[in-house]
Every structure is written in C-alpha cells, then in structure tokens.
C-alpha cells in the first residue's frame, strides 16, 4: 500500500563535522507504507543521515520534513508529538542497561500512555513475543542477552508505541540467516498491518532483495540512485555494479 505521500522528505541536506563534509546536499524521500533500504559504503554517512533526521546531529543546511512538518520550525511539544510517532532501532540496540528486557519495552509505553500496569505488561510481553523472543528473556538484563537478542528487544522497544515510521540501523546484522529472514518477515507483517513506513540502513543483500520496496544509495555525500532492486541490478554505475552484482550479490540473485 505504498502511496505517493512522503512521510520523510529530505532536501539538500548538508551535514559536516569541522572541515569534513559528510552529506553534501543529499535529497531523499521516504513514502508512506514503504520499506526503504538505505545502502552505502562503510563510513559513507548512512547513520549520519539517519541521526540527522531523528535530530541527534545538527544539520548545516537543507530541510527535513517528517509527516509534512518542517522539523526546524516546530516547538518542543510538536516535536515530542512527532517523536512519539517514530521508533528507532540503534545499531547496538541501545537498551537501558539498568532495566530488564521487559522494562525496556515497557518504558516508552509507561512514559507516553497512562495505562494500567497489567495492560502495559501484556503489551510489552506481546511485543517481545512478536519479535521472536520467548517469555524467558523478560527478567534478563541487556548484559545477559546475546547480540541477536539485544537487537530483538531493541526492535520490540522501537515498536512499543506502534509508531508510523521505524528507523532501523542495520537491523539484521548479528542475527543468524534464519533469524534475519524472520526479522524481515516480521518487519513486513508490521509494515502491512500498521501502514508502517520503514527507513532501513542495511548491508544485508537478502533484506534488500526480499523486503525493501525501494533502495536509496548514498555515495560521496549524495544520494546517487533510488529505485527498486531491479533498477539497482540494471544500473551500470560502477559502485552499484560492484555492490549488487559483486560476488556476494550474485550468489543471492541466482
């Protein structure tokens, strides 16, 4: 149910640290109900773009609109209302280490919604089960979880409030191939049922092939291509060719 409404629209975004310009007039749209795969070389600035959109890094120039609202022009309350509608899965999970897995998922629900403890617990447990974790992890602290489980708990937390947009920073890294495929399928399910829009930074060619509706490629600070996987495979751009039709790309394609 991809529509033409852009939930995120980035125009001429420039971000830099000191003298280094990481993003140079990058322009990108994420449409409602799509899963956008965002690729680029390591250190190309994929995470920088994501962190700039969600407001963790300052921009030098350009315009970022989320749900049609310019993020530079909102007050604190409006910003909170927008933040309530997105969920972020950080690369390392970023779980609160002093809270258990269950408490981590409950945290945003408890902060934003005034619900009974029973419902909060049931919803949080449901989210944990939906990301493929059994009830055994509920009382465990992040330090007692494996890397893959941390990712899943973090996804559960990102989805805790049933957001409209989910930002995923390399969601399937650290999961075994079966887990990664389940993860992709889960993202698909939630995306379909909730009209979720997904912005996924990834290197996982499987995910790019199976779940991403569109792919955007970042190179040298700019978005050099956007389009479905077929466009990427057909492209003659040298970087795209080596990325999608290199050894690893071919293995998956055939």
């Amino acid at each position: 149910m991809t529509s033409n409404t852009a939930v995120i629209s980035v125009r001429d975004l420039t971000v830099g640290f000191g003298d280094a310009i990481v993003l140079d007039r990058a322009t990108l749209d994420v449409f409602e109900g799509e899963i956008l795969g965002f690729v680029g070389g390591s250190g190309a600035g994929k995470s920088v773009l994501m962190r700039t959109i969600i407001g963790l890094l300052p921009k030098r120039n350009g315009r970022i609109e989320v749900f049609g609202t310019d993020l530079a022009a909102v007050n604190a309350d409006e910003r909170r209302a927008i933040e309530r509608r997105w969920g972020v899965l950080f690369q390392q999970g970023a779980l609160f280490s002093s809270l258990t897995a269950l408490q981590n998922v409950q945290y945003p629900i408890r902060e934003y919604l005034n619900l009974s403890p029973r419902l909060i617990e049931e919803i949080a447990l449901a989210k944990l089960e939906m990301v493929g974790l059994d009830a055994g992890v509920r009382g465990k602290y992040p330090s007692e979880l494996s890397g893959g489980m941390v990712k899943r708990v973090a996804l559960a937390r990102a989805l805790a409030l049933d957001p409209d947009i989910v930002f995923l920073d390399e969601p399937t890294s650290g999961l075994d191939p079966i887990g990664a495929a389940e993860f992709d399928a889960l993202i698909r399910t939630l995306q379909r049922t909730l009209g979720l829009s997904v912005f996924m930074v990834t290197h996982d060619l499987d995910s790019l092939h199976t779940v991403c509706d569109r792919i955007a490629v970042l190179s040298e600070g700019r978005i050099i291509a956007t389009g479905p996987i077929e466009t990427m495979l057909a492209s003659e751009h040298p970087w795209l060719k080596s990325y999608f039709r290199g050894k690893r790309g071919r293995l998956i394609h055939h």
Partner: protein, 386 residues
C-alpha cells in the same frame, strides 16, 4: 488512510453490543489504537464481565477505522476471556490488512508468566541478610585472591624488573600522588587547625593550653594524618581505579588483554597499586606537616603561643617513633585501598548501574577496611610498646 492526514489522537472508539436469540454480537468501532487503550481496556473488561453467561459471541471488526497492537491485543484479551469460560467466539469482519496482526496477537502471551507469589517478609529479610553475609565472605576471598596474584606478579617483577610498566606507573603516580597534593594539604591543614582550636578552647579552662601541642603532635602524626589522607585517596583515586577497570571490563578490554597473553594483574593492577603504595606515604608526610602547620598557626593567632614555644613543646612531646608509626601504616593502607578498588573494578558486569554500584562499594569498603586496619595497628604498636 494517509499517515500525514491521520488524527494523532485517534477518533472515538467503542464496543457496541447486539443480542439475538442465541448469542451476543459485539461490534468494535472507531480507532482501536494506543492513545485510546486506557478507555478501551475498561470497555473490554466491562464487556467480558457483563456477558459472562453468553454461550456464543461474535466480535465484529468490520467497522474499525484503525487497529494497532494495543487494540488487537485488547480484542484478543476479550476473546480469551470468553473462551476461557467455555463460550464459543468468532472474530468476523476482519480486514485483510488487520488479519496478519490479529494472527500475530493470537499467538502471544500464551505461556503464563512466572508467578510472583507474595513472599514471606521474614524470609525475604533472612534471605537478604544471608546473601549480604555470603557476599562479604566472597569479597574477602576475592581480596585474598588478588593479593596472592599481586604477590606472584611482584615476585616475578623483582626477578625481571623490565616487566614493570614504568610509563604506566609514572602516569598513575602523577594522578594519585602529585595531583592530590593540593587538596590533601588543604584538608589536613584545616583538620590540624580545627583540632588545635578545639584543644585550646577546652584545655584553657584548666590552664593546660600548652598540652595542645602534645595532643596535636601525637594525634596528627600517629592517627589523623594517615587516616584523612587515606579517606581522601580512597574517595579520589580508589573510585577512579574502580571506574577505569570496571569500564574496561564492560567493554571486554580486559578479556582482550588476556587473549593477547597479558596478565591483567601485571598490566593494570600492579602499576596502580605500586603508585598508591608510593604516593600514600608521601601524601601522609605532606598531610602531617600541613596539619602541624595549621595547628601552629592557630596556636599563634588564637592561643597566643609563639612559634618558638610551639616548636620547643613539639620537640619534647613527639619522638621519631611517633612519626614512624604513621608512616609505617601508610603503605599498608594504600595496599588495602588499591586491592579493594581493583577487586571491585573486576567485579563490574555489563551494566552502567553495576559500575556505579561497584564504585560506591569500592570507596565504602576501602574506608571501612582502612579504619579496621588502623585498629589492628593500634593494638600491634601498643603490644610492641611504640
């Protein structure tokens, strides 16, 4: 349903009941979403209670505007409440979009959570006392363990002096020794001044002001100087050691060292503890001098006792053993502070909370053990007549 046009608060949400001869029909309308979950929970529990006797229930979702996990779960909760009583339920009118979500929700929360039965209060108290005692025992064992490992490393280093990390040692010596001088000198100066002032004030009533010098001299050199310095060092450097080692432990740096074939005790613990063992006696000396200076100043300005008289009295009151007692204690106390700090640092597990906890307990334990050790020294020196 466009995201941009969505009402963030949702519209209304309700559950309408209809009856026919055989059973109850419940029609869910509106937006069953997170924002409305609080009122929906009441509606759902209310409905589950009201139609207890119904044998057949249809839950109609055809008129839903929006459904998210919160709403889906509440419908599932309603469904389970009826099926648990043996009623037959059907969920009808489910749209294609919501089917996946309802299927997902149907699978969750099937296993009952751990029963957290209300525990007996007395048992809980006994349990925590027992754990605390066991923990004290375990931490003493760890202290002994690290002391043993350190001894082995020290012996090895004596045999091969090149193994001592001199750069690291000097670095720590600067941090725990040199940089601690101003604050240690200032606080011991004030302590000396305060003791002298109190002494003069109270001794004056029976004309024994001159003995203030004896009191200050013996007290500062034997006990207070070294204790104040140790408390400052435990708070300043012991906590830093624990935090440093703890965060290295958290980030697996210590494991990395070990896999490269290095002994963390040799690389990390030895330079730190040696630095403390060198720095604390020096700081104790500086502290004692600063305290005596503070006392002298107060005696002069407040008690009207000239420095000459103060010096003459001091020379009579104290002897080399008085000074030696304080200095002998200092390196042992430094060792205790260093050992406790390093043991606690290695005990940190993955969480930020445990880092804070261990840093606190490092300071508390080392100050406590320093005082206990001081007590043992007092008995020891009394026994040998010093």
């Amino acid at each position: 349903m466009t995201a941009a046009g969505r009402d963030a608060q949702g519209t209304s949400a309700s559950l309408v009941a209809t009856f026919d001869g055989k059973g109850v029909g419940l029609i869910a309308t509106g937006a069953w979403i997170a924002e409305r979950a609080a009122e929906l929970e009441k509606i759902v529990d209310d409905a589950a209670g009201r139609y207890q006797t119904a044998r057949s229930i249809d839950i109609d979702l055809a008129r839903l505007d929006r459904l998210d996990t919160f709403g889906a779960w509440l419908i599932e909760r309603l469904n389970r409440a009826f099926t648990a009583r043996g009623a037959s339920t059907r969920i009808i009118g489910l749209s294609e979009n919501d089917r996946g979500l309802m299927d997902e929700v149907r699978l969750v929360n099937r296993t009952a959570g751990k029963d957290t039965a209300a525990a007996n209060g007395i048992l809980v108290a006994l349990d925590s006392i027992g754990r605390a005692v066991a923990e004290i025992g375990a931490s003493l064992v760890l202290l002994a363990h690290l002391l043993g490992a350190l001894t082995m490393v020290v012996l090895g280093t004596i045999a091969h002096p090149a193994r001592l990390r001199l750069t690291s040692l000097v670095h720590h010596l600067e941090k725990v020794g040199w940089r601690a001088v101003p604050i240690v000198a200032l606080s011991t100066f004030l302590i000396g001044a305060i003791i002298a002032q109190q002494g003069i004030f109270h001794f004056r009533t029976f004309g024994a002001e001159v003995y203030v010098v004896d009191m200050v001299g013996i007290l500062v050199l034997r006990e207070v100087g070294v204790l104040i310095v140790c408390v400052m060092v435990a708070g300043r450097s012991g906590s830093a050691y624990t935090a440093e080692l703890g965060s290295m432990k958290m980030r697996e740096e210590i494991d990395a060292l070990r896999t490269m074939g290095f002994d963390p005790v040799e690389v990390l613990v030895l330079p730190r503890i040696v630095a403390l063992v060198i720095a604390v006696p020096l700081l104790t000396f500086i502290g004692a001098m600063a305290a005596l200076y503070g006392a002298e100043l107060v005696c002069w300005l407040y008690g009207g006792m000239t420095p000459d008289i103060f010096h003459a009295r001091l020379r009579e009151a104290i002897s080399v053993p008085t000074f030696a007692v304080g200095m002998i204690k200092a390196p042992f106390m430094a060792l205790v502070i260093g050992l406790v700090a390093c043991v606690e640092g290695f005990e940190v597990d993955g969480s930020a909370a445990s880092l804070g906890l261990k840093t606190t307990s490092s300071v508390v334990k080392s100050i406590f053990l320093v005082i206990v050790l001081d007590g043992f020294f007092a008995m020891f020196f009394a026994a040998i007549g010093m």
